[in-house]
């Protein structure tokens, strides 16, 4: 069925559509900005270092060739995961050696600030620290013994 709408009515309708779209856009953008200020993603990479005849360093981790990581010449990526962190909530990640890594987002501006707590399999704290890093920078905060070598925790905010 064809419904004819006169020009003024159509113009008014278009205006209201524009206002509605603008309101939705501003509201969504505001909510997204607010959400981004309260949450972030952290990439967790677990690397297993051993002594081997043939050395191997995964791409993107040149620090592994420097002390103290060069105590082992062969590194393999055990797993790579993304942790969704929100302010005030600790994200827990069990590590292959039985320990647990707890990450809590503290701030996102100007740097991403995360509190990292490493606990043994009994829940006792092994290390704790607040790490502030710019977005996209990789760093290696913890290394723990694992299978005759070292289990190195790599993070990228």
């Amino acid at each position: 069925m064809h419904v004819s709408i006169d020009k003024p009515a159509r113009r008014t309708l278009l205006r209201w559509i524009g206002v509605l779209a603008m309101t939705c856009g501003v509201g969504t953008a505001s909510a997204a900005i607010q959400q981004s200020a309260n949450s972030t993603n952290v990439e967790l990479t677990l690397l297993h270092g051993t002594k081997a005849d043939a050395g191997a360093i995964p791409a993107g981790w040149p620090e592994l060739t420097s002390p103290p990581f060069n105590a082992y010449n062969h590194y393999e990526v055990v797993s790579t995961k993304t942790l969704a962190l929100t302010k005030g909530n600790a994200a827990k990640e069990s590590l292959p050696d039985g320990s647990t890594l707890e990450a809590t987002l503290l701030d996102t501006n100007p740097k991403v600030k995360v509190e990292l707590v490493l606990k043994d399999n009994k829940g006792s704290q092994i290390s704790k620290g607040t790490y502030s890093s710019p977005k996209g920078k990789k760093f290696l905060p913890v290394s723990t013994p694992y299978k005759g070598g070292a289990l190195v925790v790599g993070l990228k905010y």
Partner: protein, 219 residues
């Protein structure tokens, strides 16, 4: 003598005495012997009598319809219109007295054109905002958010550790200052157990501490 009087006298000279008497008689200005002589002549001259009657009828007609003719001529209304126009122009500011605010005067647009332009602006602005919102939502939806999955655990018990709090991390080489910049990883409130050592690695962008645990072996 004024020039107007000279013209009137010249006009009168073009008429003969009989004509002058006729006009004076019609106007009631003829008196004395001239009136008697004219009436005697009017009595004898039938043509003059008929002419008098005709002129009298025309004069009466003109007198009776003078107001109507004057009204039809709309002389008063024209004058009133002219005076009203003059008064209106006196009250309106003269263009020459108006100081222009800008030399660039935007062309006058109709109400419909302005409404159409406003609608286009509203719709365009709303569309841009909606597109931005959609982009933000799309970006957020495509971010990788993998759930925290438990991994294999071990039953080996690590040796007990003693927590030692380090407020100020010591530099690996005190003689060389550690550069601080925006790309540096900063660590604060670092606490480690007895089986752990804090080692500061040095890179191109500064130093970074590593908690190097040696006192326990899970597997």
């Amino acid at each position: 003598m004024t020039p107007g009087h000279d013209d009137e006298e010249r006009d009168l000279e073009l008429l003969d005495q009989s004509e002058l008497d006729l006009l004076a008689y019609l106007d009631g200005e003829l008196e004395g012997e001239r009136l008697a002589a004219f009436e005697a002549r009017l009595h004898d001259d039938r043509a003059l009598s008929a002419r008098i009657k005709a002129l009298s009828a025309i004069g009466g007609f003109l007198r009776d319809d003078a107001n109507r003719i004057y009204g039809n001529a709309k002389v008063d209304s024209i004058v009133d219109d002219v005076m009203a126009k003059v008064k209106t122009q006196e009250m309106e500011p003269r263009l020459a007295d108006v100081i222009p605010l800008s030399t660039h005067v935007a062309p006058l647009t109709s109400r419909a054109d302005r409404a159409k332009k406003n609608t286009v602006i509203w719709v365009a602005f709303g569309g841009i905002a909606a597109a931005a919102a959609a982009l933000i939502l799309w970006t957020g939806a495509h971010e990788v958010k993998s759930p925290v999955a438990p991994v294999a655990s071990t039953t080996a018990a690590p040796p007990p550790v003693t927590v030692v709090k380090i407020d100020t991390p010591p530099p690996s080489n005190p003689s060389m200052p550690v550069p601080e910049n925006a790309a540096t990883v900063e660590v604060s409130d670092l606490e480690v157990g007895s089986g752990a050592t804090v080692i500061y690695t040095r890179g191109e962008e500064g130093s970074s501490p590593v908690v190097w645990i040696t006192g326990r072996e899970a597997k």
